[in-house]
């Protein structure tokens, strides 16, 4: 399988991980066995880290809140950003940690039940970590699109059923 097809295969899985090996192989014009081996080797290498459903939690759990927290870190000799990030991502409430360029250093996505729970996490856990200088917490009010998927109900197919 060429590198272009490998990327196509990963993109197809990223869009819909439920596609069968048979379907994926047909779509790419590859052998089923080739696709299976490739995917399994990515799973072993950790290039594919898992498969998940994209859930619109707003429709399921009204108490659920998500916050994006901007974190600035005081750079210290011998403690890089990686170590601080690790300390943060080990908390199970933390969904994502990213190192960014710009006016703050780490972006942390935290999920919890009720605002108070997240607020307590920020003040008691996050702010207490050494070398963290400041935090700014933004609560998400509504999610429109996530991971390339629009969560709002779109218009149905407007096309006529049969056209020439």
């Amino acid at each position: 399988m060429g590198p272009e097809h490998e990327k196509d295969l990963l993109k197809l899985l990223q869009e819909n991980a439920k596609l069968s090996y048979e379907t994926l192989a047909t779509m790419l014009g590859e052998e089923v066995e080739t696709v299976r081996q490739r995917v399994e080797s990515w799973e072993q290498d950790g290039i594919i880290r898992g498969y998940a459903a994209i859930v619109n939690w707003d429709r399921v759990d009204e108490d659920r809140v998500t916050a994006i927290i901007e974190v600035t870190v005081i750079p210290q000799r011998s403690v890089g950003f990686d170590e601080v990030a690790r300390r943060i991502y080990r908390f199970p409430e933390v969904q994502a940690v990213l190192l960014l360029s710009g006016s703050y250093d780490l972006q942390v996505v935290v999920e919890g039940h009720r605002i108070q729970e997240v607020a307590r996490f920020v003040s008691e856990r996050l702010a207490a970590i050494d070398f963290i200088q400041s935090t700014t917490t933004h609560f998400i009010l509504k999610t429109y699109k996530v991971d390339g998927v629009v969560l709002e109900d779109g218009d149905d197919d407007q096309r006529l059923v049969i056209t020439p």
């Binding site: 819909n16 047909t26 049969i162």
Partner: protein, 390 residues
């Protein structure tokens, strides 16, 4: 009582009803139908193109344009055809912006057909040619394309039609409904016969951007063809812009200027906001096209593989977004098969016979629909065939 039979134009009354209409009416009354019958992209026009249309409205661009279309758009079309297909047209005289490719075909026929002229249509082909020829006062003559040659028009087929005394031919390349594409060699051979028979040509290239691993040659770029060919193109299929109704015709100035003379009275000009959106499409939209074509390509493999696995032989379409499975093994006419499949399996396809009698025994399946829908449709056809359908 008004005697309408004696009052309405016989030309209009003699236009046969569309073969698709009946299926459409039937499918409309049913729920949960998966349609493989749609002849347009399932993608929405890329946002930056829509935005260009909106911006035109915001700026108050709501007036007529030049009859032939905005000069900037004609320049962009000429430049696009030059770089993409090696065609040379002067934006001032050889390019006409029309309300969809449909208007361009209608205008070309009105200008190129004299009363009683015979016009060749290699069938199966797009449904509009036959009625438009009749409305233009011409006589449509079918050339039957054969499944053995992949429904491609060969020079021999055309030579055999010499005795019919036709003066014009309409080619749809890439073809709706078969997805067949005639390559450069095939076109060069056709060009020799076309010249020998002194035919004028309308070449409908609306699907020219939607190709799978083949190079596209425009007939107009073949030797001797530019002076006798009108190329019809448009934005509908490539850029998913069907509802904008924007197309174009390019050809020898004498033909295009005659078409312009009709167009200025019937249409005046194409909608200005659509023209502005089209300008954006040509400017920066070709990357979107390749993304859409890559997606069609995957679906194409899926449906061709699926239909063949069901025992409905289907060849690889090289262009457009249609597969054309052979359903002769079911022993049914394509019409009966399509109706039965719709009623019993809730899958809508278009009978090949509506694209001309040579399409009998085949059905057109559009794969301009999502993967999940395609898979479901194939599964429904499988169950239908297993339950003794056909």
């Amino acid at each position: 009582m008004i005697d309408w039979g004696n009052r309405l134009s016989p030309l209009a009354q003699n236009v046969p009803p569309s073969g698709i209409r009946r299926f459409f009416d039937l499918a409309e009354t049913m729920e949960d139908v998966i349609s493989l019958g749609v002849g347009e992209p399932d993608f929405v026009t890329p946002w930056h193109i829509r935005e260009a249309g909106l911006y035109a409205l915001e700026r108050g661009m709501t007036s007529y344009t030049a009859n032939a279309g905005l000069l900037s758009l004609r320049i962009a079309i000429a430049e696009y055809l030059r770089t993409r297909f090696g065609l040379h047209y002067s934006p001032g005289t050889d390019v006409l912006v029309t309300v969809g490719g449909s208007e361009a075909i209608d205008l070309a026929l009105r200008v190129m057909v004299r009363p009683g002229d015979r016009v060749l249509i290699p069938e199966p082909t797009y449904v509009a040619y036959r009625p438009l020829i009749q409305l233009a006062g011409g006589v449509p003559l079918s050339i039957a394309l054969r499944p053995e040659t992949g429904f491609r028009l060969a020079a021999e087929d055309l030579l055999a039609a010499a005795e019919l005394g036709a003066r014009t031919i309409i080619l749809c390349n890439p073809n709706n409904p078969t997805g067949a594409v005639i390559d450069r060699l095939g076109l060069e051979r056709l060009a020799q016969v076309i010249e020998k028979l002194d035919l004028l040509v309308i070449c409908d290239e609306i699907y020219a951007e939607i190709l799978y691993g083949v190079d596209y040659t425009s007939l107009a770029s073949c030797s001797g063809m530019r002076e006798r060919t009108v190329v019809v193109g448009g934005f509908s299929k490539a850029f998913a812009m069907t509802g904008w109704r924007l197309g174009y015709a390019c050809g020898p100035d004498v033909i295009i200027q005659s078409m312009l003379r009709v167009h200025q009275y019937t249409m005046l000009c194409a909608p200005v906001m659509a023209q502005m959106a089209a300008l954006e499409a040509l400017d920066t939209g070709l990357a979107d096209v390749s993304v859409m074509v890559a997606e069609y390509d995957r679906r194409r493999r899926l449906i061709v593989h699926g239909m063949n696995a069901l025992g409905l032989p289907t060849s690889d379409p090289q262009g457009a977004f249609y597969a054309f499975p052979d359903i002769r093994s079911t022993g049914m006419t394509s019409n009966a098969f399509a109706e039965d499949l719709l009623v019993r399996a809730k899958v809508a396809v278009v009978p090949g016979s509506v694209f001309g009698r040579p399409g009998e025994g085949f059905v057109r399946c559009s794969y301009a629909t999502g993967i999940d829908q395609l898979e479901k449709a194939i599964e429904r056809v499988r169950q239908y065939l297993r339950a003794g359908g056909g």
